[in-house]
């Protein structure tokens, strides 16, 4: 066990955990932010995606010690009120079904748009193919990403 300092959504947390524990469980069960989901534990489904210094990463496969003091953003940190362009587009396109994968999908889409303001289909496929939506909302996710890119100020 070791004390690890985490910076999540601009807030600092100090937790006493196994340094090898994945960031996912630190976020969910020690910090208490439940929007980031566990889906597979092996970086195959993307449900656990958060931003690490602005880059999308799989929190299920990152030891918590490796991300100490780095800037981590979770779905809760994207906006307080669904005002992020990606969240707005997700609502306009009525994307979610069960919704369980959507935090991860949204974090990936937000990271894509921050690098590439107008992605084409191939860019979107490349950025999103690490994510599984078992409900199959892919056509809507793609539409929402395009909409968000148009809505961007």
């Amino acid at each position: 066990m070791a004390i690890i300092n985490l910076k999540i959504n601009s807030k600092e947390y100090s937790i006493d955990v196994d340094p090898q524990m994945p960031l996912l469980w630190a976020i969910r069960d020690f910090v208490g932010l439940k929007g980031t989901k566990y889906g597979c534990g092996i970086a195959q489904c993307g449900a656990c995606t958060v931003h690490l210094n602005g880059q999308p990463v799989r929190s299920c496969s990152l030891p918590v010690a490796a991300v100490a003091n780095k800037n981590i953003t979770t779905i809760e940190g994207l906006s307080d009120d669904n005002s992020h362009p990606v969240q707005k587009a997700w609502i306009e396109e009525q994307v979610p079904q069960c919704g369980y994968c959507q935090s991860g999908q949204i974090m990936a889409a937000a990271a894509l748009l921050s690098k590439n303001a107008s992605p084409n289909d191939a860019d979107i496929d490349a950025a999103m193919q690490g994510h599984i939506c078992r409900c199959g909302t892919y056509p809507r996710i793609k539409r929402a990403i395009k909409k968000a890119s148009e809505n961007k100020p």
Binding site: M1, V17, D18, M21, P22, W25, R28, D29, F30, G32, L33, K34, G35, T36, K37, Y38, G39, C40, G41, I42, Q44, C45, A47, T74, I75, E76, S79, N82, Q87, W90, I91, Q94, V95, P96, Q97, C98, G99, Y100, C101, Q102, S103, I106, I124, D125, A126, M128, Q129, H131, I132, C133, R134, C135, G136, T137, Y138, P139, R140, I141, K142
Partner: protein, 715 residues
Amino acid sequence: MVSRRQFIKNTGKASFALWLGATSNGFANAAFITYAPSNFTPFVKIEKNGKITIFNTKPEMGQGTFQSVPALIAEELEVSLDAITIVQTSGEKQFGGGQAAGGSSSIRGNYDAYRKIGAAAKEMLIKAASVKWGIGIESCYAENGSVHSKLSKEHLSYGDLIEEASKLEVPKEPKLKNKSDFKIIGKSIQRPDVPLKVSGKAEYGIDVEVPNMVYATVFRSPVIGGTLKSFDADATLKIPGVIKVVEAKTTVGKYQYSGVAVIAKSYWSALQGRKVLKVEWETNGYENFNLSDYENKLRNLSKETGVLDKNIGNVESVKTEPGNSVESFYETPMVAHHTLEPMNCIAHVNGEMLTIWTSTQVPSAITGSGPNDLHSQIGMKPENITLHSKFIGGGFGRRLYTDYVIEAVNIAKQIEQPVKVIWSREDTTQHSAVRPMTFSQLKGGFSKEGELISFQHKVISPSYFDSVGPNFDKTKVDAIMIEGIGEQAYQIPNIKTSYVYADFHVPVAAWRSVTSSTVAFAHECFIDELAHKVKKDPLDFRLQMLDKDSDTKRVLLKLKEVSNWDKPLPKGKGRGVAQWEFFAGLCAHVVEVSVTKDNTIKIDKVYAVIDLGEVVNPDNVKNQIEGSIVMALTAAIKTGITIENGKIKQSNFHDNPMIRMHETPEIEVHILADGGKIKGVGEPGLPPFAPALANAIFSITGKRIKKMPFDLKLS
């Protein structure tokens, strides 16, 4: 304090009841109105301050009931969806045994009944206003949560009327609105759960935290059917955070299993403890089980006559000329549900009291207010069970089963604190009941004139009912396993459908669209074979066998139009069609394909037509059909579940892959909602997809696919 129950007025068989809610100050200020046909009891609650709560008895797993069920009530009650609070019920006794979602039944099974709840309340509120104003009810109308007078500008909000209204008799047959007056039903209104699901605020079972909670992971027998011999927890108990190691029993249908639970302060600690846990299993001979042997057994069993299902005319009397008959054999795999939220459950046993927090499709079964009750399996009294039912991170049939709840309760019995049991993805893949495979033997015979005069479909498979219950009668047909094959609308003079039972030791489950997801593949591919045998267009061949007024004909005609079926495709492209009607509903697809430069089938477009009778939220229906097609595509072309040396070979998404965005075809959905039988939404989009795709591939390659999963890469 007066019990609410004392105020129930029973008004005959329909058990319409009006409940006066007694609050802490003893003053009745709320009315609970229920309408309870045989199996469900939704609620409306109107408070004096005007707050309106609609209780949704159908768990939300992505299919949209969080809106669609309250929408039916709100429509008739004349309140907008923005003006109501929706509360998900949790198997409370007063809501009855119908708190369950499955079989695409939520709307199709209750369309009028839910509306009557709202309509009855509205009539009572109008009556109360008319008495207050001393005018006739015909001079009053309800709009936007208020009753208005047609004679003056007077109006009263529902909250102001509730005290008077709650003293009135509940109308047994309230008048329902005309479809043309609908303000909510039939409109694509944004769903109230969506903002919660894009902000991370929607709470699923796995997200719940209760004070003093501990975590558990369970080591279960890798060989299916293995039993626990012994375990050594010495090393486990030395892992920091590990609290206790206990046996964890559960029940899956007729099967009883035992695992070993590692209970710890965190899930991560529990997992570390499990890694060093030593367990010995008795594998009971099941370690020699291989799926490939079992598939051979199914092939051999196809020689058996089996048990007769449907017998129209007399297929045995039909004599066809040599060359006028077709025979075929189709095979399908087992598949996993793969809900993205793995199985999980929090249970807290406090003396005789049990509290459960989980995502489930069957709240009623957990609290004991419905059939297949949990309490008998865990030795608790139903009145002592409290459930907190959460948003479901995918159901697809998996969460119709309570094995993960029973297991959590049995662990919770051995520790004082509430315990959250989380199944890893690997646990969920390898220890869940699976969709069974079905093998199909088909025969068709034509007259000299080329008319299809006989049709036979025999299903060979393990039995669903044998798996879920202890007393399956093998001399009878398992109705789940031959689902739909005797009920297609094709008018063929001689039809025989039958079932051959195959013994199996692996628990099997309903999987979204149940057996239709496999038998439709065989059935509708074979219909295509028959069409080609007599050199007919596959869509016209189907249409010619359908009665003018059949729903299936209506769907196929619409599909023919929207898919431009009669317009030839450019060279190098092909298309296929399939339809399926079964208990859940009716849908048909046309799939267009081409072959890429690297000799792989590309799905260019899917056209879908679903027949609903009535539609609540068209946009949500489209979302469901799009998703159904993606799920059906995974089942058609991706690895299924296989068993080697008694163990499920697949474990996670790397070896049991799902369709991803870049593999998703363009999908165009059309909805028929022109009255008639009301049909379901959640499942009907699946069954026709695989056969439509396989038929499309045949049209371009000339190669008939008879086994799922199949490869889009051509050899």
